[in-house]
């Protein structure tokens, strides 16, 4: 249970703000990792594809942060959330902050995250908040494409050469301990779910597992053990050491000149 949220009385406003920030942080940090590929992809076409997906995520995050500060109502700008929060205030999943690794690692993570997002967005398109529904409607098309792009790559890398098979298998094995958290829910989720303002991720967990299992099997890959030890704590701001470095890089210019306008 989150100590940060437990100590405070939850209100719709607080819970929704927290929920939007979690969604946004996942997308911003993953977008950041993908943007690191720009100029370094395996072939021009894929360089362009990865930059496209990075842009989608950062754009989704921007919309979510904007709505979050609007809900908060304290006159903050979306960039305040991006540039002036420290590691423990970031609520993204550890899965998305791990270094980009090789192309296999990047694609394995893309597949797990975009298949998860695919089910998540289906539910979000039905919740009782017009603004979130509007956002989701726009983003969902892109999410569907992210899934198609990454799934097709999993098939090619898994059933490609011996080298690609072992690289993509290693990638899944290495990140597996971080996938449990995708389905972590706490009182913020429960509070909002009662008002139909949040998605119940438990409801699609088995569908998601089937999709992952089917895809990996089609790609001649082994599905790692679902029951292995899974790390927790991301939604309470407990991160890997990697996030600090990522934020240092992302925030340093903006923080070095806090009074400057860059728009």
């Amino acid at each position: 249970m989150s100590t940060a949220t437990k100590s405070k009385e939850l209100t719709k406003q607080k819970a929704l703000f927290e929920y939007l920030v979690r969604l946004a942080d996942d997308r911003l940090i993953l977008g950041h990792r993908l943007s690191e590929w720009c100029g370094h992809g395996p072939i021009l076409e894929e360089d362009i594809a990865l930059a496209n997906i990075a842009l989608d995520y950062i754009g989704h995050a921007a919309n979510l942060y904007e709505y979050a500060v609007e809900i908060e109502g304290e006159g903050r700008h979306r960039d305040d959330l991006v540039y002036f929060r420290n590691d423990p205030e970031y609520k993204n999943l550890k899965l998305v902050e791990l270094p980009k690794g090789d192309f296999g690692f990047t694609i394995a993570r893309q597949f797990l995250f975009s298949s998860y997002s695919y089910y998540l967005y289906q539910l979000l398109s039905d919740i009782e908040d017009e603004q979130i529904r509007g956002m989701v409607e726009k983003h969902f098309k892109e999410v569907k494409y992210h899934l198609r792009h990454s799934r097709e790559w999993i098939l090619r890398l898994g059933d490609g050469t011996e080298e690609s098979h072992s690289r993509i298998q290693d990638a899944f094995n290495d990140m597996w301990t971080y996938v449990g958290e995708l389905f972590y829910q706490d009182e913020v989720d429960e509070f909002l779910q009662e008002k139909n303002l949040a998605a119940d991720t438990a409801s699609f967990k088995s569908d998601w597992k089937d999709l992952v299992t089917d895809t990996l099997e089609e790609a001649t890959l082994d599905v790692p053990d679902w029951n292995q030890f899974m790390v927790e704590g991301s939604r309470q701001g407990l991160h890997t050491e990697h996030l600090g470095h990522l934020l240092a890089e992302m925030q340093h210019l903006r923080r070095s000149y806090p009074d400057a306008d860059w728009e």
Partner: protein
């Protein structure tokens, strides 16, 4: 039958399967592949700041701009392929150090202001060059340029917008942007190449309708436009000899340091080695990915053939 030169003089467009002198083909392959390499290597200096952009808006603009450059490299490689030079072949020439790319990308981006100034000056220079090339006699090159010019129209604009914001910003921002202008002004002037009398390719390319203006003419229109824009936002151009000539209506400017120019062309610029290293690493790290996709396609084809 009209001769090739008659077709050119007649303003006709040359298409891939048309007869063309071998020298025309070779010159175009050289020029277009260099142009393609420049787009791709050009992603690196700006790409250096994507993860550090100071606002989400700036981050998204920069990422989409650098991504556009990958697209433009791709269009240009495709156009070069119509002349019989495969992408693999010309990329290998780059990676082996046999091909050139625009020297401007061998300078480092040291502060965020460099990103603004690249958009304003470097893209400003590129637009002048590319607008001319959009009327090139070779169809695929000209069509690629039309598409690129259309897409790049926002590149310079976003740069100049940022230059203006910083020039109107805090004292630190003003110093930062002036410093960037001081470092990029002269290398940008060098982008147009040697003086006409030292540019043997230029006359030939003009004769063949690939280019329609000389290096010095293009450089002059760049200077005229950008001096005015600099003054508009209160920035100084680092050239003591800069003077407006009322009679010609042009800005006269000082002599370029041609030793520096040739030195960077020969590979001794501040970032030549690192740029090539980054391209080679991307290529080598991507090899297993390209191979896997091809192997998968081969297997799929085989199993389809078996099934039918």
């Amino acid at each position: 039958m009209k001769t090739f030169q008659e077709r050119i003089d007649n303003g006709e467009t040359i298409e891939p399967k048309d007869d063309m002198p071998d020298r025309y083909r070779q010159q175009l392959i050289r020029m277009m592949s260099q142009h393609a390499h420049s787009e791709v290597v050009g992603m690196l200096p700006e790409g250096n700041w994507i993860t550090r952009a100071p606002s989400l808006r700036r981050k998204m603009i920069l990422l989409s701009k650098v991504q556009d450059e990958a697209g433009h490299g791709l269009y240009l490689y495709s156009a070069t392929e119509t002349l019989g030079a495969s992408r693999k072949e010309v990329i290998n020439q780059l990676l082996e150090g046999k091909a050139k790319y625009s020297s401007i990308f061998n300078y480092p981006t040291l502060t965020w202001a460099d990103v603004a100034v690249i958009g304003w000056l470097v893209d400003g220079a590129a637009i002048i060059n590319q607008t001319m090339l959009a009327r090139s006699s070779y169809g695929p090159y000209s069509r690629a340029m039309v598409r690129i010019c259309k897409e790049e129209s926002f590149h310079k604009k976003q740069g100049y917008e940022m230059v203006a914001t910083m020039a109107d910003g805090t004292p630190e921002q003003q110093d930062m942007i002036q410093d960037a202008v001081n470092r990029w002004w002269w290398p940008t002037l060098m982008m147009f190449g040697p003086h006409d009398e030292n540019s043997p390719n230029s006359a030939e390319l003009i004769k063949w309708g690939v280019k329609s203006k000389t290096n010095d003419e293009l450089r002059q229109s760049f200077v005229d436009r950008h001096v005015a824009e600099a003054h508009e936002v209160g920035l100084e151009i680092p050239d003591d000899d800069l003077e407006y000539n009322e009679e010609t209506g042009h800005w006269e400017f000082g002599e370029i340091d041609w030793d520096e120019f040739w030195n960077v062309v020969k590979g001794n610029g501040p970032m030549n080695k690192e740029r090539m290293k980054a391209r080679r690493e991307a290529h080598e790290n991507g090899k297993w990915v390209r191979e896997a996709a091809e192997e998968y396609a081969r297997k799929q084809k085989l199993s389809k053939e078996k099934a039918s």
